[in-house]
């Protein structure tokens, strides 16, 4: 029963999210208004975009703890550029943010691929380096709304077809990932090199290079989100998105991305982010203290990894003939 649900994680998650929305709506009906739902989704966009990048990194058996620091650093730099040179067009700034984020990601990737340092160590280190650099650049000062240009702030809020641009960016990123992981060789390489690095090498995939690419993409998206975050909240300071990397990892783990690498889907990952987004939006609506947020995401990470591990646990090799027939037919019931 439980394992059957876990097998169809996307469906299960979608149901849980729906139920959550309905329960919150039953208590506070205003939560169900289109405006409030759109705003809840809009709030989740950044988490969803970052989760896509993190997913690639986790698929290749690595982890990127530096995304939030990367986001904050690029956000600060973009904000400072905008404050100093309001004439620089915003699309150019966004491209710059993505390029800068990609470079910061490439630093992580370089140490993982070329030097061979474990990803957790590299990104733990760069996390504090990037964060410390913001202080060095800004001297601890804030970039506030009145220093930013109107275009800089308004772009993500512009409503197109009933939804803000930021939501559309989230949807486009998810759609692009969905396409790439199914239909492009690059997308499949993340699964092969994480699923069985030896076998991937035998098929001619350079595992280290794929890990490098994952870090670059993750960094690039963190850069994009750096602009989105600073523009959306109209402020940049040292502690922007402090600890947000945990939410991003939580979204991936909830979405069924296996921390052992090689297993996961874009849809599951997006739903994992959505799940956290709904909870984060529901807490204030229900009048629960925002201080619960951290504890909840911690608890959800633990529950999700336990669920993943029980779903994945190998039940031994399949040697007996009767065991083969039993497992090869998916329609049959499986004992837990």
């Amino acid at each position: 029963m439980m394992s059957a649900l876990l097998k169809h994680r996307e469906r299960f998650l979608a149901l849980v999210i729906l139920a959550l929305i309905l329960v919150v709506g039953a208590i506070t009906p205003s939560f169900l208004s289109p405006n409030s739902l759109v705003s809840a989704f809009n709030d989740t966009s950044i988490l969803m975009i970052l989760a896509m990048g993190q997913m690639l990194v986790i698929l290749t058996r690595c982890i990127d703890l530096s995304v939030a620091a990367n986001l904050a650093l690029t956000g600060m730099v973009v904000g400072m550029i905008n404050a100093a040179y309001p004439g620089v067009p915003v699309p150019l700034l966004i491209l710059f943010a993505m390029a800068m984020g990609a470079c910061l990601g490439a630093i992580n990737g370089f140490f993982v691929w070329v030097v061979g340092v474990p990803a957790i160590v590299v990104t733990l280190g760069t996390m504090s380096i990037y964060r410390g650099t913001i202080f060095l650049l800004s001297d601890g000062a804030w970039v506030n709304a009145h220093q930013m240009s109107a275009g800089f702030i308004s772009l993500p809020r512009t409503v197109v077809l009933g939804m803000p641009v930021m939501s559309w960016i989230g949807i486009i990123v998810v759609a692009a990932f969905y396409f790439a992981t199914r239909h492009l060789r690059l997308g499949r390489d993340f699964f092969t090199s994480g699923g069985n690095p030896t076998a991937a090498f035998y098929t001619g995939v350079s595992v280290g290079k794929v890990q490098f690419k994952a870090f670059v993409v993750s960094g690039m998206l963190a850069g994009l989100c750096g602009y989105l975050w600073v523009s959306r909240y109209a402020v940049a300071y040292v502690d922007v998105a402090n600890g947000f990397e945990l939410q991003v990892i939580a979204a991936c783990v909830i979405g069924g991305i296996s921390i052992m690498g090689g297993v996961g889907t874009v849809l599951g990952c997006a739903l994992g982010a959505l799940f956290l987004g709904v909870i984060n939006n529901a807490l204030p609506v229900l009048g629960v203290s925002p201080f619960w947020q951290m504890a909840i995401s911690g608890a959800v990470i633990i529950i999700a990894v336990i669920a993943n591990s029980t779903a994945e646990r190998s039940k031994g090799r399949i040697i007996l003939r009767r065991a083969v027939s039993k497992r090869a037919t998916p329609s049959q019931h499986q004992e837990a």
């Binding site: 964060r131 040292v238 921390i259 203290s289 201080f291 951290m294 911690g298 990470i301 336990i306």
Partner: protein
């Protein structure tokens, strides 16, 4: 050199060249530490004052105490990123207990118990479900601190009983603070535990090859569980020291400390992949980091810059031997 080709009995050890002992990471660390010490004493006349030096130890002893069991955990191929959050939760628990009128002894008991429970939970999830400890403790890192926030919000506990301040502010003898004396005593205990007991030997065996260790009849999961509990308990103890020193508890207490603790361990020559490292190295690394922090403080470098330096140190310390090994292999290939 022993002659190995004759039919004489195989010796227990070959007599090692003295250079062999000298060319170790620990020696290098010690050298750097001495250099930093000299630099500091030249840079400012205040440095060599015994009380100044004693004051400097307060900056790192609480972290250093956790680095001791953390070194064993990392040698055993596991890691605990939740230590700083355990400090926060223990501290908040002590705050609650102090509000309820508990005395200093009771508070220590509460803090260590909370630490044990947290460590036990980490260890059980890791061993029972076979999930990598990195992920589990990333989860509990936000769970434990999250609980601290839920209990305390943006408030603070400041009403600690008299006598409690001794743990973090008291002196045992002359310039030797209680904290520092405790650290030195525990360093001795952990040195013995890692290098001179069955438990330590098994820690190395598991860290080198968990499968072969299991196949040799070692209860790998139980062993790891004990280590997680140890790290938890000592994080609770560190919480006593820190809370007592600050005289107050906020949920953000010790934020980001896990990074410094792990950096101390790795800087001390413990392999992040498990299986090797020594307590001596870790203790030297603790002093090195303490001296660097102190020196930068004397030079008026702001605290956040320290995090850049710690982060860079963490990456470079792990990179250097990797790059050196790569170069050595390349040179041998060419021969």
């Amino acid at each position: 050199m022993a002659n190995t080709m004759t039919q004489t009995a195989v010796p227990n050890r070959l007599s090692n060249h003295w250079l062999h002992h000298l060319l170790r990471w620990e020696t290098f660390l010690l050298l750097v530490t001495v250099l930093v010490f000299l630099f500091n004493s030249l840079a400012t006349p205040y440095f060599l004052d015994p009380w100044n030096l004693s004051d400097a130890t307060f900056n790192f002893t609480e972290k250093a105490i956790i680095a001791l069991p953390m070194a064993m955990l990392i040698i055993c191929r596991e890691i605990d990123l939740s230590v700083a959050s355990i400090i926060a939760l223990s501290s908040v628990s002590m705050g609650l207990a102090a509000e309820a009128g508990m005395g200093p002894g009771g508070l220590v008991f509460v803090a260590v118990s909370v630490g044990i429970v947290c460590g036990l939970f980490n260890g059980l999830v890791v061993t029972h479900f076979g999930i990598p400890s990195i992920v589990v403790t990333i989860g509990t890192m936000s769970l434990y601190r999250g609980i601290a926030y839920v209990i305390l919000g943006d408030g603070a506990f400041t009403n600690y009983p008299s006598g409690f301040e001794f743990f973090g502010q008291g002196y045992v003898y002359w310039v030797f603070s209680f904290e520092f004396t405790l650290f030195m005593g525990m360093a001795l205990i952990f040195y013995g535990l890692l290098h001179h007991t069955n438990f330590g030997r098994r820690t190395y065996a598991i860290g080198n090859n968990p499968t072969a260790a299991l196949y040799s009849g070692i209860k790998v999961n139980k062993h790891k569980l004990i280590l997680f509990v140890m790290v938890g308990a000592i994080s609770g103890l560190a919480s006593v020291l820190l809370t007592s020193r600050l005289g107050s508890t906020r949920p953000s207490i010790a934020f980001g400390w896990e990074l410094s603790v792990i950096t101390m361990v790795v800087l001390g020559g413990v392999s992040i992949l498990g299986g090797s490292g020594s307590m001596v190295g870790v203790v030297i690394a603790v002093f090195l980091m303490g001296l660097v922090t102190f020196g930068l403080g004397l030079l008026n470098v702001p605290g956040i810059v320290m995090t850049i330096i710690i982060g860079a140190m963490l990456i470079s310390v792990i990179s250097i031997p990797l790059v050196a090994g790569r170069l050595r292999a390349a040179r041998e290939q060419r021969k």
